[in-house]
């Protein structure tokens, strides 16, 4: 059996386990118990793998996460444990909310295995510059630092405010706010021994306009939040990080967790390809006009996320991103998503913010 076939089998087994968990009377989640009841018969049993999941579920309506009660999404297995409430990133208005317990710890502990001790040294200090507030990311980064024996400083950036400023045409205010954020980060870096950064590409670039990041003692950076073109990645690696600091792009959000990037190289043209933490989450690149179909490898399509954990089951949510469908690799024997960018970016300019 090839590694790709093995990964498919493992995914199918995981799908069966998670669907059973969310639809069983003992452990199940009200929203999915209702779904099973409406479907009738042995609804959970009819889902034997990921292909059945695609067959049985349409695209998930994300609006439900804005309007439905948290209790409706709380698995009975966690009835006696209070939950965290996490919100999605940079939207305005009522945010999507996801409840959770330990998922973020599991996701980031798995991610930790991809980081080297040389670039992300245990026992040091980290600095996160970016959206904290109600986001899962804030706790996740702190947990990741702690898991690696480190502690983390935080400088917040509120992306919702930045988006409001940009939409109101107040670009100067947005820039002033970003300078305010950078000033705070510079203070921490100046007065404390920070060796790891988590931030966004824009903030990293801005930081690099004020200081030499390697000279400041930073050894490793991981970066996410907005799209990164190959040219942006090259610029960050070659010039901002002066080819001396390890650079790990990440793709993630409150609903999925964290997807790691294939190792970057000049020979690959610095193109980023992300691989979901399968089987806990599955990323597919779908035909924008016929979302049940995948595009061919190498073609562009809309990113679809399925989250499959005991805390949260969300089938086939269409992200607001598009990507190129990439081939499996030896380390990740399932499809990757490459050159992720906002959905429709090729046709019109998307406000991604100054952050």
């Amino acid at each position: 059996m090839s590694s790709i076939e093995a990964a498919c089998e493992a995914l199918d087994a995981h799908v069966r386990e998670i669907v059973q968990w969310h639809m069983s009377p003992e452990t199940g989640t009200p929203v999915w118990l209702d779904w099973a009841s409406e479907r009738g018969g042995d609804a959970a049993g009819s889902i034997g793998g990921f292909a059945d999941l695609v067959e049985c579920f349409g695209n998930f309506d994300g609006e439900r996460l804005r309007t439905e009660s948290h209790e409706y999404w709380r698995p009975r297995a966690f009835a006696d444990r209070p939950f965290n409430i996490f919100e999605t990133g940079g939207t305005t208005g009522m945010p999507k909310q996801r409840i959770g317990w330990d998922d973020y710890k599991e996701d980031y502990e798995a991610f930790s295995a991809t980081l080297s001790d040389a670039s992300f040294p245990p026992g040091g200090y980290w600095l996160m510059i970016g959206p904290t507030g109600p986001r899962r990311l804030r706790l996740a980064i702190e947990h990741l630092a702690n898991f690696r024996g480190s502690s983390c400083y935080f400088v917040d950036l509120d992306p919702r405010w930045v988006k409001k400023l940009l939409r109101a045409g107040q670009g100067d205010q947005a820039k002033a706010y970003m300078e305010h954020v950078i000033d705070q980060a510079l203070s921490i870096i100046k007065h404390r021994d920070v060796d790891v950064l988590f931030t966004t590409p824009r903030l990293l670039e801005k930081l690099g306009e004020h200081i030499s990041i390697p000279d400041a003692g930073i050894k490793g950076v991981f970066c996410g939040g907005t799209e990164m073109s190959p040219q942006t990645v090259r610029f960050l690696i070659e010039e901002v990080l002066e080819e001396e600091v390890a650079f790990h792009p990440t793709y993630g959000n409150t609903l999925m967790g964290l997807a790691a990037s294939r190792p970057l190289s000049k020979e690959d043209g610095y193109a980023i390809t992300y691989y979901a933490p399968q089987p806990r989450a599955v990323l597919r690149v779908t035909n924008p006009k016929r979302p049940d179909e995948l595009v061919n490898h190498g073609e562009w399509g809309r990113v679809e996320l399925t989250t499959l954990t005991r805390e949260f089951f969300m089938p086939r949510f269409l992200e607001r991103d598009e990507a190129r469908r990439c081939e499996p690799t030896a380390d990740h024997p399932w499809d990757g998503v490459g050159e992720v960018r906002p959905f429709g970016a090729s046709e019109h300019k998307i406000i991604e913010g100054v952050y």
Binding site: G208, T232, R234, F235, V240
Partner: protein
């Protein structure tokens, strides 16, 4: 020339091949092979490079001005005649001679070869005549004031200091002649940071290569083909910048003293009551003012104001302008430029058609040309010359400017002429009336005033009409030295 040259970013003269690229195609061949791949600079690169601006400026400032002026003069013939590097060395290099330059420029800008060569001559003329141009910009002051900052202007002591370590220029794609405006910055010891128009990287690169070949340090030239954000970064990060664009593009910067805005010109020809009866003698001035350089310049007349005879003038002008038709782009008789972006031509045509639906305006060229204003020729889109007779300046088409030969003719009472002008880059006033000439001479809304039958497009470069580059780049300050310290 390489088959498909890859035009690099120049970072202080150093070639940089970006992973972000665009392809340029000939406007005459839909779906054809690209004529160039152009590296695109991300804004971060520009911000990072600008940290080196002071050091790069010092390399120019340490050269005597006389040496820089001579290099500019040498560059004129190099620009006109020599084979110069085009493609990035790491992508196979390639070079471009003057004929290739004209062909490439024509392919992506829509200009016929005649107008490419005319613009080329304009640029070379500025290089060649640099001493006279600097004399005009510096009001006759000795040029060596630039070497030490101090000297005398006549018998008046002066001290000038630079305002910026670089001159930024966000340039258009429509007419390469505008590059003439930034070239003197090099002789004024100021490096340039150029953001070329998307479709026209050719001219900025060729001028830079010619000046480098003539001995100007390569560090004085940064060329950033880039997006909107990159353009804004050029404007923000250079101490002084020139911005070319339409009213929407330039509006956010009109009150920024560090940015000299070159927007719509709204140039005009006006007649005094004393000469209006002789209008037929001046028809050629009108034709050249409207249609010179295919109407692409901000110094082309877009409105003609007359105290009487508007109907006859508009009709006669229309008869002359309809003679200008699309011609083979390589031909010596080609006077009309194609639109590199056909959608833009369609949009302008639709805008004029919509304007004509409002009462008070008639297209006098429509009946003469036979067929619509929008014409396909050699696979390209053209807008044919258009003369609109407007009953009032309040009509939407009376003050509209387009990048093809387009003008309105409006009758205005002579005592309301000055008020009717509004902001005008160039006014050619065909009058000997001393009172009107005096009034025009006091106007703060006219940037270049031609008295007599001078086309609006005729420019004497030693008299700048849209800002004085020397005064933009340098500030006079006061310096006193105790006599006992000499």
């Amino acid at each position: 020339m390489a088959e498909v040259p890859h035009i690099p970013v120049l970072r202080g003269g150093r070639e940089y091949v970006s992973l972000d690229t665009i392809e340029l195609f000939s406007h005459r061949e839909s779906g054809g092979t690209p004529v160039a791949t152009v590296s695109q600079a991300n804004a971060g690169i520009i911000r990072r490079d600008m940290k080196k601006a002071a050091r790069r400026a010092s390399l120019l400032r340490e050269r005597p001005v006389a040496e820089l002026v001579e290099a500019c003069q040498r560059a004129a013939s190099i620009f006109m005649e020599e084979e110069l590097p085009l493609g990035a060395a790491e992508t196979g290099g390639g070079s471009q001679g003057p004929a290739d330059y004209v062909e490439s420029l024509s392919a992506t800008s829509g200009l016929p070869h005649t107008l490419c060569r005319a613009n080329m001559l304009k640029v070379a003329s500025v290089m060649e005549n640099m001493p006279r141009i600097l004399k005009g910009l510096m009001r006759g002051m000795e040029l060596d004031v630039l070497d030490g900052g101090t000297g005398k202007h006549g018998d008046v002591p002066v001290w000038y200091t630079p305002n910026a370590d670089a001159l930024g220029a966000v340039l258009p794609s429509n007419s390469p002649g505008v590059h003439s405006l930034w070239v003197p910055a090099i002789a004024l010891k100021t490096p340039v940071v150029l953001k070329p128009g998307r479709e026209e990287p050719w001219t900025a690169l060729r001028i830079a290569r010619a000046l480098m070949a003539a001995g100007i340090p390569e560090e004085a030239f940064s060329l950033y083909p880039t997006d909107h954000e990159g353009g804004a970064t050029v404007l923000e990060s250079c101490g002084r910048s020139l911005l070319f664009g339409d009213a929407r593009t330039t509006a956010p910067y009109v009150n920024n003293a560090a940015i000299e805005v070159h927007g719509p010109g709204r140039s005009k020809v006006i007649f005094g009551a004393d000469e209006i009866a002789n209008w037929e003698e001046y028809l050629e001035v009108l034709v050249t003012s409207v249609a010179g350089n295919s109407g692409r310049s901000c110094i082309n007349a877009s409105t003609i104001l007359v105290p009487s005879h508007a109907d006859e003038i508009a009709a006669a002008l229309a008869e002359r302008l309809v003679e200008i038709e699309p011609a083979q782009h390589t031909g010596d008789d080609a006077r009309l430029a194609a639109f590199a972006n056909p959608a833009l031509a369609e949009m302008m045509d639709a805008g004029i058609t919509a304007g004509l639906e409002q009462a008070g305006a008639v297209d006098l060229t429509a009946g003469l040309r036979g067929g619509g204003r929008l014409r396909q020729f050699e696979g390209a889109s053209y807008l044919l010359p258009t003369v609109i007779r407007c009953e009032s300046l309040d009509h939407a088409l009376a003050r509209t400017e387009y990048m093809f030969p387009f003008t309105s003719v409006v009758e205005v009472p002579i005592d309301g002429m000055l008020e009717a002008l509004g902001e005008s880059l160039v006014v050619s006033a065909i009058t000997r009336d001393p009172e009107l000439v005096s009034q025009l001479g006091r106007s703060s809304q006219i940037h270049r005033l031609n008295i007599g039958p001078i086309p609006t497009t005729q420019v004497e470069w030693d008299q700048p009409h849209e800002g004085n580059l020397f005064e933009f780049l340098y500030t006079r300050r006061a310096l006193q030295r105790a006599s006992s310290w000499n």
